[in-house]
């Protein structure tokens, strides 16, 4: 009877595979069983499942019953291949040290490359989870002032552009605006009495379609209705855990205090943990409509009809068929329509562009994004790492070549005998290629283990969290196998051709190998390895030197001995705030260990409050220059010990606060055209639509890391600053001082979280990414030195083998061990010197361009080269020394008697 219907279409390839491996007498029964099960599965679980399980069953049966017909054949090629394999393994086992070094260096090289590839893969995977990825764009609007500085934040679009664009440009489907919760907040779940302070960037106001445009799946709640109420809040799973523990947070109330829009918010959704490879990272989402209506008591949106209100980022989605250039053009036309008049008046040119969401991670600048884009990547880094990975693998293969040829003398007899018995050159090449494949395959397996072990360390160093997800991709395995086969062929061909070219007669009749050339390919490669090692050591040294330099530099202010206390957010008596805060400061200062107390809205290393166009009162509008403003409490210049060049620190005196006093730095004096500090205190400044009087001029200080050049800084004085309290204290009894501060804080501001940090630590945290960079370089350096040492070891072994007779003769004639060691080593020291000739300009070139990232930089000095050279010489000498000593100590009888 014929099989009925198409129901019985079992996967043909699987059937064929089974027939290849299973003996005839079993096949019938197996096919029968398989078909029976297959039909059952189709009717219960569907075809896809049945096909998948069919494959699994087939493979399982093959593993269980295979008689490996292909490998059981007894014809000549098969026997030969089996023989090659056996000989390869025997060879590896025979020379354990060589095999170990060889496999280890290859495995470490490949492992490093794998780790780097995983990193690159992770970096490239950013934001790729969003369904509509290629149609989501971020709007950027460049504001160019022909005379003044350009406005530095192109992604602050204002809230109006999204609305106008959607209604007037038909290709635009949706817009999503984002606004961070300015000022930060204290969030509490009063039922469980849990209160924590949260960072402004972790709380985002978003438009309703946010959860539909971006793929952040909800664990609980509905994406469509999550933001229907203006006082709804969507939180991540971690936050649900933090505020509600095991309780179900849906429908519960979270009280938000402080910042833009305090109030009671109802939880309407719980998000799955956010993917790490997303440029948007947040803990809380609030509806943007809330911000529009209640933000800053309703004042948030009044600025400039919404066309330049700060801190709003706009994303749009466009139709699939839309032409992006056309949309961009239309957007510019639109902006021109609404803004032309005002821009003409102020002399500003505005130009919009659209950035695909997939590009944001690698093509964005943390200074420009103001923190909304988290974990910025850098496409240059990616290229840089790719090149490094490439070189590491190449060098590891070069080492394999060097090591195998170094062993040639041991194989020479084998080759000779094989050739005499009639082996074809083709067969010898197969033999050596098989060896290459064996070594490469073992290394490749080890490499995966090494990469898996290395990833946590690398994560630690570069402060990222990614897993070894590459192994889950079928493409990776295909690629990796191809890569290994290719690598085996590449690294195997050279030794295979060299070794198989030996003449049998010279092989058997005594070791007459080709004379070592003065400068061979091998020493060229070694020089290259030295060069890379030297470069990396110098570069690492330079990175650390720059970090030390930045940390040790005078900042123009004292940040030592300053403890910074985070200010209160909840339960504040707002009617009488200024005097409460003043009383609080007095009470804190009333302790023998406390030297000074001052409030401010930011502290060094934590950024400034606003950056904006500022001009001297009386200058034309288009002369605005960019300056940074810090809202400061009275007494801050004294607490930080700022040095006054003119004027004095303003005191808290209500009669004298209009116009608001500012203290500026020297840089501001130059930038705003105030000629001298003495002259400056006569002048007034104009910004934020208001005038400010200059109360004093201080020497330049480093509010930011030393990577930044001095920029105009303005301390704008207010009595009700309370975000941070800088407390200068005597650190002799920190515990006692802290107890005092905590008790005062709790008595003044009950219900607020008591959080503090030491300013110096916080300030130095700015150098974290530099330290990470240095650590990464250090890692590469260790790797490069290791690989170069292996290469050196291979080469010195090779030359020692070639010169074994020469050494024997020299010994008989009375050469000492030390003179023989010098003889063997000096060649490599020469190569090392040669490499350093190239390394020095390379380091100078790279170092210069790297240091250009820093406004304040350390200089180059001789030790930058002497130190790495010393290290490398030491390592080389010990590598060479070991091998040379062994060669020099051999009994000349052993090496000479064979002739």
């Amino acid at each position: 009877m014929m099989p009925s219907g198409n129901k019985r279409n079992t996967p043909k390839v699987a059937d064929w595979l089974l027939s290849k491996f299973i003996s005839e007498n079993l096949l019938e029964e197996f096919y029968g069983d398989l078909l029976e099960i297959y039909d059952g599965r189709i009717s219960t679980r569907g075809r896809v499942y049945a096909n998948m399980m069919y494959w699994i069953d087939i493979l399982h049966l093959i593993f269980g019953f295979a008689s490996f017909k292909t490998f059981k054949r007894q014809n000549n090629p098969f026997v030969m291949h089996k023989h090659y394999l056996i000989v390869s393994i025997r060879n590896l086992a025979q020379t354990k040290l060589y095999s170990f070094v060889n496999i280890l260096s290859l495995a470490i090289g490949m492992g490093a490359a794998l780790t780097i590839f995983q990193y690159i893969y992770f970096e490239l995977s950013y934001d790729k989870m969003h369904d509509n990825l290629e149609n989501i764009y971020r709007i950027s609007i460049d504001k160019i002032q022909p005379k003044g500085d350009p406005y530095p934040y192109p992604y602050e679009t204002g809230y109006a552009v999204g609305v106008a664009a959607k209604s007037e440009i038909p290709e635009i489907d949706q817009y999503v605006r984002l606004h961070k919760y300015s000022g930060g907040a204290t969030i509490s779940n009063s039922d469980q009495n849990k209160t924590f302070s949260e960072d402004a960037l972790d709380i985002l106001f978003v438009d309703k379609p946010f959860l539909k445009v971006f793929y952040f799946p909800l664990k609980l709640g509905k994406a469509e209705s999550a933001f229907n109420d203006k006082f709804s809040i969507v939180i991540t799973e971690q936050m649900a855990q933090k505020y509600f523990g095991s309780e179900n947070p849906m429908g519960k109330i979270l009280t938000v205090s402080g910042g833009v829009s305090p109030g009671s918010y109802t939880v309407t959704g719980i998000l799955d943990p956010l993917p790490l490879n997303s440029h948007l990272q947040f803990n809380f989402l609030l509806p943007l409509e809330n911000y529009m209506e209640y933000g800053w008591g309703g004042a948030a949106t009044k600025n400039d009809d919404g066309w330049s209100s700060p801190d709003i980022t706009t994303y749009i989605t466009i139709e699939k068929s839309a032409d992006i250039d056309l949309v961009n053009k239309k957007l510019n036309v639109l902006i021109n329509k609404y803004r032309n008049e005002k821009n003409l008046h102020e002399g500003i040119i505005e130009k919009a562009s659209l950035q695909p969401v997939g590009e944001i991670h690698l093509k964005s600048d943390p200074d420009v994004d103001q923190g909304l884009v988290r974990n910025n990547g850098n496409s240059l880094d990616i290229t840089f790492f790719f090149i490094i990975a490439f070189f590491i693998v190449i060098i590891a293969w070069v080492n394999y070549i060097n090591l195998s040829t170094a062993r040639s003398i041991h194989r020479a007899k084998e080759v000779g005998v094989r050739k005499s018995v009639g082996a074809l050159r083709k067969q010898l090449i197969s033999q050596f290629l098989t060896e290459a494949i064996v070594v490469n395959s073992i290394s490749a397996c080890l490499a995966i283990g090494i990469a898996a072990l290395a990833l946590p360390f690398v994560n630690d160093i570069i402060q990222k969290e990614f897993d070894f997800t590459l192994v889950e991709l079928p493409m990776f395995w295909i690629g990796y196998t191809t890569f290994i086969i290719l690598g085996s062929l590449l690294s195997g061909f050279f030794p295979a051709f060299i070794l198989s070219s030996f003449k049998p007669i010279s092989m058997i009749g005594g070791y007459k190998l080709p004379k070592p050339g003065t400068f061979s390919l091998r020493s060229g490669l070694l020089t290259f390895q030295f060069l890379i090692s030297l470069f990396l050591i110098s570069a690492t040294y330079l990175v650390y030197k720059q970090i030390t330099f930045m940390k040790s530099q005078e900042l123009g202010m004292d940040i030592e001995q300053i403890l910074v206390l985070k200010g209160p957010e909840v339960n504040l008596d707002r009617s009488n705030l200024e005097s409460v805060l003043e009383a609080f400061r007095k009470k804190i200062a009333d302790h023998h260990s406390i030297l000074a107390v001052a409030a401010s809205s930011s502290v060094p290393g934590k950024g400034y409050n606003t950056g904006l166009g500022i001009r001297k009162l009386g200058d034309p509008a288009d002369a605005d220059k960019f300056g940074r403003v810090v809202f400061s409490g009275f007494g801050l210049p004294e607490a930080y010990n700022l040095e006054f060049l003119a004027g004095k620190s303003p005191v808290q005196d209500r009669s004298d606060l209009s116009p608001v006093p500012v203290v500026i730095n020297e840089e501001a004096v130059h930038t705003f055209g105030l000629s001298t500090p003495e002259n400056a205190i006569q002048e007034q400044l104009f910004f934020k639509g208001d005038t400010f009087k200059i109360a004093g001029v201080v020497r330049n200080f480093h509010w930011h890391s030393l990577a930044d050049a001095h920029t105009p800084y303005l301390l704008e004085f207010y009595g009700d600053c309370r975000s941070y309290f800088s407390i200068k204290m005597n650190l002799s009894n920190t515990q006692e001082s802290l107890t005092h501060i905590e008790s005062v804080y709790n008595s003044f501001f009950p219900g607020n979280a008591f959080e503090y940090f030491f300013l110096e630590d916080e300030f130095n945290r700015q150098y974290q990414s530099d330290v990470q960079f240095g650590n990464l370089f250090f890692l590469f350096t260790v790797l490069a030195i290791f690989i170069a040492s292996v290469g050196l070891f291979a080469l010195v072994s090779y030359s020692a083998t070639l010169r074994i007779k020469e050494i024997g003769v020299r010994k008989i004639l009375g050469a000492s061990t030390s003179s023989l060691m010098i003889l063997l080593s000096k060649e490599y020291l020469r190569l090392l010197m040669f490499a350093s000739i190239f390394a020095i300009p390379a380091v100078l070139f790279w170092g210069n361009s790297w240091l250009n990232n820093y406004a304040f930089k350390t200089g180059f000095s001789a030790e930058l080269f002497i130190f790495p050279l010393g290290i490398l010489t030491g390592i080389s000498l010990s590598t060479v020394g070991y091998r040379a000593l062994r060669a020099a100590r051999t009994n000349p009888v052993d090496s000479l008697r064979t002739d």
């Binding site: 009877m1 099989p3 009925s4 019985r8 019938e28 029964e29 197996f30 096919y31 029968g32 069983d33 398989l34 078909l35 029976e36 099960i37 039909d39 699994i56 069953d57 399982h60 049966l61 593993f63 269980g64 019953f65």
Partner: protein
């Protein structure tokens, strides 16, 4: 042969063959074991075990009737041998003896 101990899965397969009394072939044994043990089993595992038991001399087999269900292919029907029965009993005896030694079975409740 007889000293060879019986694995847990082998025991299950052997029992299933006994239960089916001459109607035991790959898929049927798989279903029977799945039914009683409640876990899902790969066909290959059953076949491997059946053949291993046959090699040990605990099972014997012959090719049986063909059906349309199997695409007109015959099945291999397994039966237990005397040695198999003996081994199975031996296992059972050991268990019984040990169970009896558990005092009162109190703590199992």
């Amino acid at each position: 042969m007889e000293n060879k101990s019986l694995g847990e899965f082998e025991e299950l397969v052997l029992l299933a063959v006994c239960i089916m009394d001459g109607e035991a072939y790959g898929v049927a044994v798989k279903k029977e074991v799945e039914k009683h043990s409640g876990r899902s089993i790969l066909l290959g595992a059953v076949h491997i075990t059946l053949y291993r038991l046959q090699d040990k001399g605990l099972l014997r087999s012959e090719m049986g009737g063909n059906t349309d269900k199997r695409g007109d292919r015959r099945k291999r029907l397994f039966r237990i041998t005397a040695a198999g029965m003996k081994q199975l009993r031996a296992v059972q005896d050991v268990r019984k003896k040990m169970w009896n030694l558990i005092p009162q079975l109190k703590f199992v409740l």
